[in-house]
């Protein structure tokens, strides 16, 4: 999908550039302005009497369409905006829980209500850890 989006975007840019350049070149042709407009320079600049060929117009529109499609295709996936979908993803996917920076990511935001870091029983944790080390050493020996 990503490669297709890049190709569409590139094509759109090429077509747009080509259309713009063609329009510029066309405006330089002496025949492009059919009748020299009457009136002052101001009214001429306000009402430019340019008759672009239909193929340049169509190319511009086509390139704009291609770019629109390409930009939509190349945008990242949508984030869930429903609470249950968002919460479900935190529960079941490791990727969604990853901490990317301070305050971003990190799983269930309510997990603190069960872990309760403010009431950390450090002596119990130390004992638990020492037991784990002992068990680990024993299992390695046997």
């Amino acid at each position: 999908m990503a490669a297709a989006a890049i190709i569409v975007n590139a094509l759109g840019v090429v077509f747009l550039a080509h259309a713009v350049y063609s329009a510029y070149e066309h405006s330089l042709l002496p025949s492009s302005t059919a009748t020299p407009p009457s009136g002052s320079a101001l009214s001429r600049s306000l009402k430019p009497n340019v008759n672009l060929p239909i193929d340049i117009t169509l190319e511009t529109l086509f390139s704009a369409l291609l770019l629109c499609v390409g930009v939509v295709l190349s945008s990242p996936g949508l984030k869930p905006i429903q609470w249950n979908v968002w919460a479900g993803r935190l529960e079941k996917s490791k990727e969604a829980r990853e901490i990317t920076e301070v305050g971003v990511g990190g799983g269930n935001p309510y997990a603190g209500l069960e872990e309760r870091a403010g009431f950390l029983d450090i002596r119990g944790k130390r004992k638990e850890f020492a037991d784990w080390i002992k068990k680990d050493a024993r299992s390695e020996k046997s």
Binding site: N84, A87, E91, K92, S93, K94, L113, R126
Partner: protein, 335 residues
């Protein structure tokens, strides 16, 4: 900076904690660059701090304390104290943690408790330290005193969900289910979307229903309340393994109880007019929920243990328990 440094090590597995604490010396050395050794006006001009730095220090401190590496923990604590000062609440708590962890005798622990009391006498609004005091009381085996402490604290700050949750846990440890349920309901008043607390409340209600005598209306009421709590946790969180597990065991138990009730004629079909409680659910609804829970559990176990993309985050032990529950069910059917 690696992300493991940003993960609080209090609940991490022992293996991740030990790697974190082994990195401590490297971490301190990496933090001491030439930038930080510049004289006063210059070091204020250059960026020597990041958002992550002090969080990482705290996590390293806790990890070292947990693994028993007191020297490294002390180094981290000193750095934190030098940065934030002795009278910072968070640093005070960390200092207290260090003293608690390194206390070797009962007398030393009492000394720590006295130092907490002294600080609290001067400034009773240091809630972090009041929590620490309650935790220490619980740790030395005085849960009733810890409960008293917490009740006093919650009188002053009734929106502290963490303290309510701790109080519920303490009550549960004492076997006081009704009080524990009340505290968990208070937690849900503050944080109504906490799906894990809904599941927790369902678990506590299920436990208390197990203690009630069979055939009583209370048991039916408590079980259906528990089932509804699990349903709410699932509503808040798609494919919540704990919620479906709870839903399965409560509906199975509820089916037994409803079968017993059905033989007797008196079944309350409408809601209780006095208390406004909901009527117990119908047999068909409970059966349907039980089937749904079984199907969902089977799906979660299958995809979770296969480690499918986007389904790899479940806890191994929880998956194993769910598998066991399903196996028990199929055995019953085979017999």
């Amino acid at each position: 900076m690696s992300t493991t440094l940003l993960q609080p090590p209090t609940t991490a597995s022992p293996r991740t904690t030990i790697t974190l604490s082994q990195q401590a010396t490297h971490f301190f050395a990496a933090q001491r660059t030439w930038l930080t050794t510049l004289p006063y006006p210059l070091n204020r001009l250059l960026p020597t701090e990041s958002q992550e730095k002090w969080l990482a220090y705290e996590n390293v401190f806790l990890a070292c304390l947990r693994t028993g590496d007191n020297d490294a923990a002390y180094t981290a604590l000193q750095a934190l104290t030098a940065r934030f000062g002795n009278d910072n609440e968070r640093v005070m708590v960390l200092g207290g943690l260090y003293q608690e962890a390194t206390a070797s005798s009962q007398a030393e622990l009492e000394e720590v408790m006295r130092s907490y009391d002294e600080i609290l006498k001067e400034d009773p609004t240091v809630f972090a330290l009041r929590k620490r005091r309650a935790a220490l009381l619980k740790s030395v085996g005085k849960p009733t005193e810890a409960i008293g402490d917490l009740i006093k604290m919650l009188d002053a700050s009734p929106t502290d969900a963490e303290a309510w949750a701790e109080l519920a846990d303490l009550y549960l440890g004492q076997g006081l289910y009704e009080q524990a349920v009340y505290c968990l309901e208070e937690v849900l008043l503050v944080m109504a979307n906490a799906w894990n607390m809904h599941a927790r409340l369902g678990e506590v209600l299920f436990l208390s229903a197990g203690k009630m005598e069979a055939g009583s209306g209370d048991k039916l009421k408590t079980l259906s309340e528990s089932m509804r709590r699990f349903c709410r946790s699932i509503e808040l969180c798609d494919d919540y393994l704990r919620g479906y597990y709870g839903l399965k065991i409560t509906t199975d138990r509820l089916l037994e109880v409803l079968d017993g009730v059905k033989q007797k004629p008196q079944v309350a079909s409408t809601s209780d007019p006095v208390t406004g409680d909901l009527a117990p659910p119908s047999l068909a609804a409970v059966k349907k929920l039980s089937q749904l829970a079984t199907a969902k559990l089977a799906e979660i176990v299958r995809r979770g243990s296969a480690g499918e993309k986007g389904w790899d985050g479940y806890n191994e032990a929880e998956l194993g328990a769910a598998r066991e529950l399903l196996d028990r069910d199929t055995q019953k059917i085979q017999r």
